[in-house]
């Protein structure tokens, strides 16, 4: 813990020092817009097409991954990541853990005000974190479970006292758990159910939410007094206004960009990527994301996949390269576990099922001696993309004489079976990814955790996962995570992982786009209109 934080603190100090001498990195985090040579235009309006409507503008209530696309524009969090996934300073300019790892102290910027004019300070952090922890039904309570109390030492210093050392805490503060909301704006609305729909001018971020019409559009307007500056000292953001339109249909999103009705998208179907790359009016960027794709078996007693050799046999028989090519249209990467390429603990040499091995799988099934393996493969109804992948898997498993019966169910029904742990075969589950590998692993694998839908339980794995949480030594964490991964992927598999996702950024040539980030969120504060 201490060591990790020390490393981070050093990094922060380095960047902080830069900020002291040249204003180049303030607010930009890593402001490396592709066309950095030209001075960016100030002003302009862009339209972004998003894969779903934003439901909760209140970080406390936010459940859907998609919400964060707007949160990141209207709220600042204590820390952020740069485009490589490294944690960098944001509202906090440095942070330091105590030697016993039981407290972390943050130093805050003192030039930040909320959109409604109130000052951001340590008291504000304390109020926000306590609200996240103490409100009944708070979605952030889990991420902040390690936090016992928060102390405002002085206006720019805030201390988090922990119940026990918890190394992923700072990574959790990158996202919604570290986002700062104006107390005045929140209390002015009164009813929290209304605030989450109308969080107008409630953050400190580069843009302010000024309008939100459900399933239609949202308007984000420039925050003229945002604290961030680019490397030339020009105040950020450059853009005046962002209109965000939700379209659940990927084709509609892509077509809107092709026709010029929209300028920004961060999620288009893999099948359209070749077109996106060749279309002369568009710029396409892609980068490995932190998300993974997996199949969940039910490992509970009484279900067919209680037999771990069956899980392994399926994992062996699947041709992940073909799935990536024909099912995901080469969007993303082949993968086998929870630790993604941009995680510090990623092991590029970990390739347990690199080549599909239907013969080996067949042998393993015979070894169990219960006759042929047959199970249900559940697919959400009305989801053609997943149906393609399921059909490919069914076809691949046939070579190992394993029969997968595809069963389309309503998404609601699949979730019900999954959380009741009563499904018979395999279900598809994706995970949007977290900055720390712990966020991709712990709740999915550790006994009885909320996302352990496979009812997996392995004492050795639990022990290793607890160990990596308690230590701040990055090398030790890496070792423990990798040891655990070998067990829950190969020796006693918890799931069948298929691969990792990709972060996309598709923009019109009319704008200068920032780089794509592994968290898939667009950095609008670095975007500007292209010079005419």
């Amino acid at each position: 813990m201490t060591r990790l934080l020390t490393i981070l603190t050093v990094l922060a100090l380095v960047t902080g020092a830069c900020a002291g001498t040249t204003p180049s990195t303030t607010g930009g985090g890593a402001s490396t817009a592709p066309s950095a040579a030209v001075k960016p235009t100030v002003g302009g309006t862009v339209t972004m097409v998003l894969e779903n409507d934003v439901i909760d503008f209140d970080p406390l209530k936010s459940r859907a991954f998609v919400d964060r696309n707007v949160h990141y524009q209207i709220y600042d969090s204590l820390v952020r990541i740069d485009e490589t996934g490294k944690i960098v300073q944001w509202l906090a300019t440095k942070w330091e853990a105590s030697t016993d790892g039981k407290s972390v102290t943050f130093t805050l910027r003192d030039d930040v005000t909320y959109h409604d004019g109130t000052k951001f300070d340590a008291e504000s952090v304390k109020w926000n974190i306590e609200r996240y922890i103490k409100t009944a039904g708070s979605q952030r309570a889990g991420e902040l479970a390690s936090v016992d109390t928060v102390e405002a030492v002085n206006a720019t210093t805030v201390k988090f006292n922990l119940k026990s050392p918890f190394s992923p805490l700072v990574a959790n503060l990158v996202d919604r758990a570290g986002m700062m909301v104006s107390r005045k704006a929140f209390e002015a609305v009164g009813n929290p159910d209304d605030f989450t729909r109308k969080a107008f001018k409630a953050g400190t971020g580069p843009f302010m939410l000024t309008e939100a019409i459900k399933d239609d559009h949202m308007t984000l307007e420039k925050n003229p007094s945002w604290w961030g500056k680019d490397k030339d000292g020009t105040k950020l953001p450059y853009l005046d206004k962002i209109t965000v339109k939700p379209f659940t249909n990927s084709d509609t999103r892509f077509t809107n960009l092709r026709t010029g009705d929209a300028q920004v998208a961060n999620n288009i179907a893999g099948k359209d990527v070749p077109t996106a790359k060749t279309e002369s009016s568009l710029t396409y960027q892609e980068r490995p994301a932190l998300s993974f794709r997996s199949l969940i078996p039910n490992r509970a007693p009484g279900f067919v996949f209680n037999e771990k050799r069956y899980v392994k046999a399926v994992s062996m028989a699947i041709d992940r390269a073909q799935l990536l090519d024909k099912g995901y249209f080469n969007l993303g990467a082949v993968g086998y576990g929870t630790i993604a390429p941009s995680h510090f603990a990623f092991d590029a040499s970990f390739k347990p099922f690199e080549k599909a091995d239907p013969e080996g799988a067949k042998k393993l099934v015979q070894e169990v001696g219960q006759g042929p393996l047959r199970f249900e493969l559940m697919v959400s109804a009305g989801d053609p993309a997943t149906l393609t992948i399921a059909t490919l898997i069914k076809d691949q498993l046939q070579k190992a004489e394993i029969v997968a019966d595809i069963q389309q169910l309503e998404f609601a029904k699949i979730l019900e079976l999954q959380s009741a742990h009563t499904f018979k075969g395999l279900t598809f589950v994706g995970w949007s990814g977290r900055i720390d590998p712990d966020g991709n692993t712990y709740d999915h694998i550790y006994s009885k955790r909320p996302f352990n839908d496979s009812s997996y339980s392995n004492a050795d794995v639990d022990k290793l996962l607890d160990e990596q949480r308690a230590t701040s030594d990055q090398e030790k964490r890496k070792a423990a995570l990798r040891m655990a991964e070998q067990i829950y992927v190969v020796d006693d598999p918890a799931r069948i992982w298929l691969g990792f996702g990709a972060a996309q950024l598709l923009t019109s040539k009319k704008v200068n786009a920032p780089p794509a980030y592994p968290d898939q969120i667009v950095r609008f504060h670095l975007m500007s209109m292209a010079a005419r």
């Binding site: 990927s250 084709d251 892509f254 077509t255 179907a269 099948k271 359209d272 077109t275 073909q322 024909k326 697919v379 959400s380 109804a381 009305g382 989801d383 053609p384 993309a385 149906l387 393609t388 399921a390 059909t391 490919l392 069914k394 076809d395 595809i406 069963q407 389309q408 169910l409 309503e410 609601a412 029904k413």
Partner: protein, 278 residues
């Protein structure tokens, strides 16, 4: 026979179309040139050719074969769902119409409730309430949605002949209600019901396609037209139009045939309408 043919050529054209569809469904294995579920990724997304008349989908499955097989699901859903709606609807209509009074009042309010319930939402909710989408569940859902049509039609017809002499005579002779309804009333109201049933098959095929389009019909990899359109619609933006056009034409042809046949039957069976001859 020839007289009838000359007088109602449309009945024969319509009947011919419907027979053709039924034959396609029965002999699908002989007409289709490939196994409709055979995955062959090396031949995916091929445009129509001599080998694949309607091209292949993204998994290399033959679209023509899937379209031919799709007729089986559509027709059986059409017939069975209408059968369910017909049986339940006519029974309620006969009882309510004949008995009148409180029974009629209650039955008709329930029918009104079904009618006022938005049909598609009703069908979706019923399939959802079944826990698991299956072909059989879709049939029941569509059947239930069709019930009010038959009940209202039957009841109206029963009311109009309930007081006719032959019914009154049978009643005076002490015939039991069941016998009066089934022997005397029902045979006299079949014409409009047959027309309605034919037209409802068209409706049921359309409804099945819509439910399948939403993923609530037969299970994959069974080919059904609605599900296949839903499956392949994402490829339209890449101009792989043939994947959607096959099943689309299938639905169109089936619904058109039953509509045409029903229309023609109505002209032929209902003398009041003959004059206006659509």
């Amino acid at each position: 026979m020839t007289w009838y043919l000359r007088r109602h050529p449309r009945v024969f054209i319509g009947g011919g179309l419907v027979t053709f569809l039924i034959l396609v469904a029965i002999f699908a294995p002989f007409i289709a040139r490939y196994d409709p579920t055979f995955v062959n990724v090396s031949q995916s997304l091929e445009p129509p050719s001599v080998d694949h008349w309607l091209g292949t989908d993204d998994l290399g499955r033959d679209v023509f074969s899937r379209t031919v097989y799709g007729s089986r699901i559509s027709l059986s859903v059409g017939l069975i769902a209408v059968g369910i709606g017909f049986f339940v609807g006519v029974t309620i209509g006969l009882i309510a119409g004949y008995m009148g009074g409180l029974v009629d009042l209650l039955a008709m309010r329930a029918i009104d409730a079904l009618l006022a319930f938005p049909a598609l939402i009703l069908a979706i909710s019923i399939t959802a309430a079944f826990q698991k989408p299956e072909l059989w569940h879709a049939m029941v859902a569509i059947g239930v949605v069709a019930v009010p049509l038959y009940t209202r039609l039957t009841r109206g017809q029963v009311l109009s002949i309930r007081e006719r002499d032959f019914v009154l005579a049978a009643r005076a002779l002490g015939a039991p209600a069941r016998r009066i309804v089934l022997r005397h009333i029902f045979p006299n109201i079949t014409n409009p019901l047959v027309v309605q049933a034919t037209l409802s098959i068209a409706f049921a095929i359309l409804a099945e396609a819509t439910l399948s389009f939403l993923g609530l019909g037969a299970q994959p990899p069974t080919p059904t037209w609605g599900a296949d359109i839903n499956y392949s619609q994402r490829w339209l933006s890449n101009f792989k139009w043939w994947m959607s056009v096959g099943p689309g034409l299938g639905i169109f042809l089936a619904v058109f045939s039953f509509n045409y046949f029903g229309d023609a039957l109505r002209d032929a069976l209902d003398p009041r309408l003959r004059r206006s001859g659509t």
